[in-house]
């Protein structure tokens, strides 16, 4: 029997993972939250028991040489999942035992080795899932169950000794506020963007003459760096607020939510209008012609024919827009719009990396969740 690599992806990822675990620090230990700590390798974690983490990685490498059938893929998924959970559990356990020995101000944070290994384990699991099934719902459910044990560990307090969670415990109010503010920015951007973008895209489709000028304008807006656009809006908005003090009571001023939402809506318009236009252009001319020929009115054609047929493309555009907005909203914190960006920048300014992480992780989670939601919606529509 010849030896053949059946899954290059798993093999590469498992090799990288082993390298990350052996060469990079698994944890960082610092006497307090502001000084930079000393790195701890895998051998220093949990009295040397940390080496056991390499066992699933080894199994994954072996599985890559197996023909990729249902059972071997399920085993790959199981191994990478176990590895992922074990990494988190090991981190939490090591932090807890370090906390018992040391000073209460001492901080144990997760090191680059952990982050890289966890990300690689997740990638392997996702790869195995995408090879296992093609159905969007099953993929989603399988991907979601990976997180169940992690969430359980988090809620049961096993991870509380980690610096990341200590930051959370200290800033719970700020965190909750940042979450609701971030969601508010997202909703406050998408709703006006839809209200402007859909009619604008529809109009562009009806009047191809204006289409190029609309897209040129939106393209120029898109090329302005976000920080610059936020800055540019400060002067006119604060001028307005000074001129008409009544506006201030509505919350309009040079800094804060108003300029952030205006800038984010402007950025959202390009992908949104483009998707509306290409969605409507996707509707076959013959279908519109017969619809007219059978005596449907313009409104009936729009509602019953054009909208349903353009919806998948529009939703795909909305998905891009939503994910883009979640990311850009971080920068809006620079002009006082709040959200997770505020947490991140505070961490950066005080060079507290765990605080940065406390802002970054939920932003990523939010983006992934919104993306998945749209993906599910799209697959539901397309199945019809």
């Amino acid at each position: 029997m010849t030896i053949r690599v059946h899954n290059r992806v798993t093999l590469t990822l498992a090799l990288l993972l082993t390298a990350a675990l052996t060469a990079l620090p698994f944890l960082n230990w610092a006497p307090n939250r502001l000084v930079s700590g000393q790195p701890l390798g895998l051998q220093q974690v949990a009295n040397g028991l940390g080496w056991w983490l390499l066992l699933p990685a080894l199994l994954l490498m072996l599985l890559a040489f197996w023909p990729q059938k249902r059972t071997s893929l399920a085993l790959t998924l199981l191994c990478s999942e176990t590895l992922f959970i074990a990494l988190i559990a090991a981190g939490g356990y090591a932090a807890a035992s370090l906390a018992q020995q040391g000073h209460p101000l001492a901080r144990t944070s997760l090191g680059s080795g952990f982050w890289l290994a966890a990300a690689l384990a997740l990638l392997m699991a996702t790869d195995a899932i995408s090879r296992l099934t093609r159905q969007a719902l099953w993929r989603l459910l399988l991907n979601a169950q990976i997180w169940l044990p992690a969430v359980f560990l988090l809620l049961s307090g096993q991870l509380d000794a980690l610096s990341l969670l200590k930051e959370y415990a200290n800033r719970r109010d700020v965190f909750d506020q940042a979450l609701s503010r971030h969601l508010l920015i997202l909703g406050g951007t998408l709703l006006p963007a839809l209200l402007i973008g859909v009619p604008l895209g529809w109009y562009c489709c009806r009047r191809p003459a204006i289409q190029s000028s609309v897209f040129a304008t939106l393209n120029i807006i898109q090329t302005v760096p976000s920080v610059a656009l936020f800055g540019l809006l400060i002067a006119p908005l604060s001028g307005l607020a000074r001129e008409f003090p009544a506006l201030t009571t509505l919350g309009i001023s040079g800094i804060g939510m108003a300029p952030a939402l205006i800038a984010l809506v402007l950025y959202a318009l390009l992908p949104l209008v483009r998707s509306v236009v290409s969605g409507l252009q996707n509707v076959p001319q013959a279908v519109i012609e017969t619809a007219r020929g059978m005596g449907m009115s313009g409104g009936q054609i729009f509602r019953q024919v054009e909208v349903p047929l353009a919806l998948p493309v529009l939703l795909a555009g909305l998905r891009v827009t939503a994910v883009q907005t979640i990311g850009m909203a971080v920068i809006a914190a620079l002009i006082g719009a709040g959200g997770f960006g505020a947490v991140i920048f505070q961490g950066l300014l005080s060079s507290a990396l765990d605080l940065v992480m406390l802002g970054v992780i939920p932003v990523i989670a939010l983006a992934v969740a919104v993306d998945t939601l749209f993906k599910l919606l799209l697959s539901g529509i397309q199945r019809q």
């Binding site: 279908v287 012609e289 017969t290 059978m294 449907m296 349903p308 047929l309 019809q384």
Partner: protein
Amino acid sequence: MIEFKEVSKYFAGKAAVSDLTLHIAKGEFTVLIGTSGCGKSTTLKMINRLIEHDKGAIRFGGEEIRRFDPQALRRRMGYVIQSTGLFPHWTVEKNIATVPKLLGWSKPQIDARVSELLALLNMEETFRHRYPHQLSGGQQQRIGVARALAADPEVLLMDEPFGALDPVTRATLQQEIARIHRLSGKTIVLVTHDIDEALALADRLVLMDGGKVVQQGTPTALLTKPVNDFVRRFFGQSEWGIRLLSLGLAGEAARRGEWLEEESIAETLTLREALSLFIARGTDRLAVRDSNQQPLGVLHFADLLRQKKP
């Protein structure tokens, strides 16, 4: 039923149709034929006001079509196009029900009508809940025709309906539409550039060129009494005789009172098909049976020659 009086249509200052005068009688199968760009499709679309005429008058049932509400007018006319234009996100049932629904028919009424139309077009009930992309090209066009007939329109407008189909499917659907015309007596206006299709279907043929009618009349009249060289060339000098034969039926030309004890042919076969059989069997006489499978007569090879004098 439909009258064009000195109708002209201009696109960007250029006449697509000029001074067109045409009378389409009730119950007649009219075929508009010509080369591409001759204005035949434009003429058809002016009837249901998908294209508005610039000059002259078009009357539907004696009244100028501009007086009608365009949507109400279109709901009284079935419309079929080459690429079917079925709604891809609707089932067959919902597609067929489009116009009845616009007209506010009740649910049981629509259901019954859909069944009736599926049966009329030889489609099984099981197709009801399928989507257009699950059907073959021929089946899709059957549904396209069923949808156009759904609200029992007074006129059926067809714009190259069978142009995209393979020859076998096209021939079957041509027979279906001829049968539907015989059964329902509907006024049908069909646009095509396929000469054989036009000859097979038309009661009246309208040959157009450069936005004008060159000649109109029965297929036989156009073949045997062409008004000019264009008409003669259009029907093809080399195939002219064959095309003339396709207008005659074996049953009409057969000599009564004679019979041959050999494999007989159906009376509905065209003389063109009979010619093919003469050659294939290497004979100069063919027995013809009638629709009840009873002996009708014998067709002689020489009978084909008599077709020249209508």
